[in-house]
């Protein structure tokens, strides 16, 4: 199970969405699919059509910058970051 950490701006948009969640998934994209199944609409917040990660959504797997295709290990830590932008 990957240990997934979500940005604070996401939680208020979805009922009972936690900041930290364990997800069984082989890739980052699959992990987002798992979240989408439980919280419909969540993928749209993180991804553009393609799908691609949104420009200012950065994902790190074990502290390395990742894409949707990046594989996850059983104990991977996944950080989803809303990058510094705007004002």
């Amino acid at each position: 199970m990957a240990d997934l950490h979500l940005p604070g701006t996401l939680a208020p948009l979805f009922t009972d969405l936690p900041r930290h969640i364990d997800v069984e998934a082989a890739t980052v994209g699959e992990a987002i699919d798992r979240l989408e199944a439980q919280w419909p609409g969540l993928r749209d917040r993180l991804c553009e059509p393609g799908p691609l990660l949104r420009r200012h959504i950065h994902v790190y797997v074990d502290q390395e910058r990742a894409t949707l295709e990046t594989p996850l290990e059983a104990r991977s830590r996944v950080d989803v970051i809303a990058a510094i932008s705007g004002g």
Partner: protein, 359 residues
């Protein structure tokens, strides 16, 4: 007793300002929409719902909806995207219109999406493909945010299949068959730049229609104020007497076809009220002459701007006017603009103001 509700879209969320029918004392609720930048927020008189077109830097574009005047909110962007292989991208949801349970949202890159289920899901209605000028807005080089979106939509009061759309920097278009076909409606407008097409290439900032006479329209253009007496089929310029030809916001009197309000701004990069003196301008004779309305408005160092949707007028017998500024003030008049008072002072930068009278 009726309540008067201002729906205010700001750079940091949506706010509601509420008063009674006297419109003297106001309370502020908000921010709503999780502080997302709101570009346009409207009230659906049919259902009582509020819709807010918002675009987060991080989390993308969506339309928020509140069915209960701000008590609860939900957002959706399901279907509010172009196909990945189209080369087009929804960088911003700019404008909303609602009628008889149908919601339209105009986006950039230019396109109109619709929802028939109260904003829960969306589908692409049109990109105005094939219209003169569409080669410009379909050019990927013109896709960055801030370029060539649908900046305004307006339903016809009667025919559901008739509405108007403004394509930023291109012009005004009308459909009478629910977007199966479109007609440019820019005849008589002025442009101070080269145009590759005869019918388009005009910078229409704001379109309003007289509730008292549907044939009467007004528009604030990048270059000048204009009036139409034939539902937009032709336009005449009525700028003379205004301090500048540039501005965004405009409002038509609910009961008098000849009375119309506008907020002239300095053109160029400033886009503030001229000379730091705030004023709304009114015509009572369809643009033959203009009166400056500034009693109660700041007359020194007031470098404020008002955007396209920033001026609203209510439907009372003696209508009230409201405008929101780029620096977060809301000013109100309950006597058709003769005098003004500041009813909110420290909101975020304001994108839109709409007024609703609700029971």
């Amino acid at each position: 007793m009726p309540r008067t509700v201002l729906v205010v879209g700001t750079r940091k969320g949506c706010f509601l300002l509420e008063s009674d029918q006297d419109r003297r004392d106001w309370s502020v609720r908000g921010p709503f929409c999780e502080n997302w930048p709101v570009y346009h927020a409207i009230h659906d008189a049919g259902t009582g719902a509020i819709y807010a077109a918002a675009a987060s830097e991080w989390l993308g574009s969506a339309v928020w909806r509140s069915p209960d005047l701000g008590e609860t909110w939900a957002l959706s962007s399901e279907g509010l995207a172009y196909d990945a292989d189209s080369g087009r991208k929804v960088s911003k949801v700019s404008t909303l219109a609602v009628k008889n349970g149908r919601v339209l949202v105009g986006v950039e890159a230019p396109g109109i999406f619709e929802s028939r289920d109260d904003g829960a899901t969306w589908s692409l209605l049109t990109t105005l493909a094939g219209q003169p000028g569409s080669e410009m807005w379909d050019d990927p080089a013109n896709q960055p945010p801030g370029h060539l979106g649908i900046s305004a939509l307006m339903f016809d009061d009667e025919a559901d299949s008739r509405f108007w759309a403004i394509v930023q920097g291109i012009g005004l278009f009308e459909t009478t068959d629910d977007s199966a076909s479109w007609t440019p409606r820019n005849r008589g407008l002025r442009a101070d730049w080269p145009r590759p097409h005869e019918e388009v290439g005009f910078c229409v900032h704001k379109l309003v229609r007289s509730p008292a006479d549907g044939a009467r329209m007004y528009q604030q253009n990048h270059v000048g104020m204009h009036r139409s007496d034939d539902t937009g089929q032709s336009w005449v310029e009525i700028t003379e007497g205004l301090p500048t030809e540039f501005g965004f916001a405009a409002a038509a009197h609910p009961h008098d076809r000849d009375t119309f309000y506008v907020i002239p701004l300095d053109p160029g990069h400033g886009r503030c009220m001229p000379d730091g003196e705030a004023a709304v301008w009114r015509t009572r004779d369809a643009g033959e002459s203009w009166q400056r309305l500034d009693r109660g408005l700041p007359q020194q160092d007031a470098f404020v701007g008002v955007l396209r949707e920033g001026l609203a007028i209510d439907s009372y017998d003696v209508p009230g006017l409201y405008f929101g500024t780029s620096t977060g003030q809301v000013f109100a008049s309950v006597n058709e603009g003769e005098s003004w008072s500041e009813i909110a002072s420290y909101l975020p930068s304001i994108s839109s103001v709409e007024v609703a009278v609700v029971d």
